[in-house]
């Protein structure tokens, strides 16, 4: 579907409604912080409205959003400020137990593995699709996924669902 019209307010709202969860979860997976995920979420959709990219189909739109989300989130986790920032004692009031565990796991997993683990296991993309989306060699994605999986296994110390 060639979307050659400019991005109207209604269309922007429709895209946000459709991809809010996808973008937010990817941002959270990479940053491990709701505060940072909130910032990335806004940045991604504002970039979308400003850039008004043209897509041939919905797959491309989603891939674009995920790529920008991963890049913005990596900027956050890679920034000197982020690395030096002390963790807040109360990042999220009344955080569910399951989310606390997820947050702790993400904080222990090196940032360079988080996004590929998320795109592969949660979003269900193949290594080839991830490579194409992020402009990387498929072999590089496979290697990073394998290393991330091993690291995750060590962290979780439990039964691990493998491919």
């Amino acid at each position: 579907m060639r979307d050659s019209r400019q991005c109207t307010a209604a269309e922007a709202e429709a895209v946000i409604a459709r991809y809010a969860d996808t973008v937010y979860r990817t941002a959270y997976a990479q940053t491990g912080s709701r505060m940072d995920a909130d910032d990335v979420f806004q940045e991604v959709f504002l970039r979308y409205v400003k850039a008004r990219p043209v897509f041939k189909n919905e797959e491309h739109r989603k891939a674009w959003l995920l790529r920008v989300t991963v890049n913005c989130a990596r900027d956050v986790t890679g920034s000197l400020w982020a690395r030096r920032r002390a963790p807040l004692t109360e990042d999220i009031p009344d955080e569910p137990q399951e989310e606390t565990g997820l947050k702790e796991m993400l904080e222990r997993l090196p940032p360079k593995y988080r996004w590929v683990i998320h795109l592969y296991y949660y979003e269900g993309y193949s290594c080839g699709e991830i490579a194409r989306m992020m402009g990387l060699r498929e072999g590089a994605v496979r290697t990073r996924l394998a290393r991330g999986r091993q690291k995750l296994k060590e962290l979780m110390e439990g039964e691990f669902a493998c491919e």
Binding site: S4, K56, V68
Partner: protein, 399 residues
């Protein structure tokens, strides 16, 4: 991993965040409309033109006129698709495309489309629509396409088109979807784990040297250039066009006029600069339409460059990696894809001026390594045939 998935399913943006983002996006969209009177008027002008055209035509003629329908689609996709006649089969260049079956369930339609070569063997198991397909849907629904299967006996490739509403609601009864294809690739071949015949320990070695006035934001030699990059709002990269020094002096990158950055990848860090070897003569062939054209060490990093011939027509592509003596595989830290319009190499005498060839250069972090302990390998993906045509089917969405 199930725990990860379950926990992540509970992570959602707050309603306030979504609303705040939507309001900010709405404001930006409105500001752009106000600032761009030409753009704001364009849909109205287009509508006026379409109305004028339709005024002199019967509905059947308007529906069958591609030009009119294309113009109408830009203004009113729903009306354009409504007027479009159902066409379940299309033949062009000796190849037939037809709708095999369709199934609509709630907000999703799955449609199977087959392409068969009636005259030759241009369709095979590697058939790739090369992103040339287009799916036109009624308003508020979206489509995607994927290759499903290939039948060698009949020479038929089957694709699955999925159409889904954006808001999760039921598909519009009676709505129509148009699936069009302009070209496809076939004869695909992959060559992986291929050693490259190159002595890495005897490559030329270069290093940036600052000029008498200090460190410039760029470096130009007769062998390579180093230029700063900037990230655009849509997360692509481009060459910085000019740099302003502290004293106000503006330095423009005129020497980069022969280069167009097509893309790149950067692992773990933001793209800040590109170092590109001036394309040279053939060092060695790699695969069909893929040639090694440069290899050197710049500031301690190994650069390896390949030329991609018939890139836009046949999409050849590949990747390099290093294998160390201990079995470790080292991937490139970054790569830059670019088009070069100038002379090929300082002394080669090969003049590509005006023609433009596509290249990709891979950079490896080898600063603390002895390249004598490394071997260069590559994976290459090529296609032999590009077939063009004008295939288009339109089918109704009916439960």
């Amino acid at each position: 991993m199930n725990d990860y998935i379950r926990a992540m399913n509970r992570v959602r943006p707050s309603a306030e965040l979504v609303e705040e983002t939507a309001r900010a996006a709405e404001e930006i969209a409105r500001r752009r409309t106000r600032r761009g009177p030409v753009r704001a008027l364009r849909p109205l002008i287009a509508m006026a033109a379409v109305i004028a055209l339709l005024a002199g035509m019967t509905p059947v003629l308007a529906a069958n006129n591609e030009t009119v329908n294309d113009a109408l689609y830009q203004v009113s996709p729903e009306l354009a698709q409504k007027l479009r006649p159902v066409k379940l089969s299309s033949e062009s260049n000796g190849i037939r495309m037809e709708v095999v079956s369709a199934d609509v369930q709630g907000d999703t339609a799955a449609v199977y489309v087959a392409m068969t070569d009636l005259e030759e063997d241009r369709i095979d198991g590697t058939t790739d629509l090369f992103d040339s397909y287009e799916i036109r849907t009624p308003r508020d629904s979206v489509g995607r396409c994927e290759r499903l299967s290939y039948d060698g006996e009949t020479g038929t490739c089957t694709f699955l088109i999925t159409v889904q509403t954006m808001n999760g609601g039921e598909l519009v009864p009676g709505g129509k979807v148009t699936f069009s294809v302009r070209e496809f690739l076939s004869g695909g071949e992959k060559l992986e784990n291929q050693p490259v015949d190159l002595d890495l320990s005897s490559l030329p070695v270069y290093a940036d040297e600052s000029g008498p006035e200090g460190t410039l934001p760029y470096v130009v030699t007769d062998k390579y250039v180093t230029v700063p990059l900037e990230e655009t709002p849509d997360s692509t990269v481009s060459i910085v066009k000019s740099v302003q020094e502290d004293d106000g002096t503006v330095i423009t990158m005129d020497f980069m006029k022969d280069f167009d950055i097509l893309g790149g990848s950067y692992i773990d860090q933001e793209p800040v600069e590109a170092q590109i070897l001036f394309p040279g003569e053939t060092l060695c062939p790699l695969a069909e339409n893929l040639t090694l054209t440069g290899a050197a060490v710049i500031n301690g990093r190994l650069h390896v460059q390949m030329r991609l011939d018939k890139h836009r027509e046949l999409d050849p592509h590949g990747y390099f990696y290093l294998k160390l003596d201990d079995g470790t595989v080292l991937e490139s830290r970054s790569s830059v894809a670019f088009r070069y319009h100038g002379l090929s190499g300082a002394d080669s005498g090969i003049n590509l001026s005006g023609q433009g060839a596509d290249y990709q250069e891979f950079v490896f972090d080898t600063q603390d390594m002895d390249l004598a302990d490394c071997a260069l390998y590559g994976d290459y993906y090529t296609n032999a045939l590009n077939t063009k045509g004008n295939w288009s089917v339109t089918f109704p969405l009916e439960g």
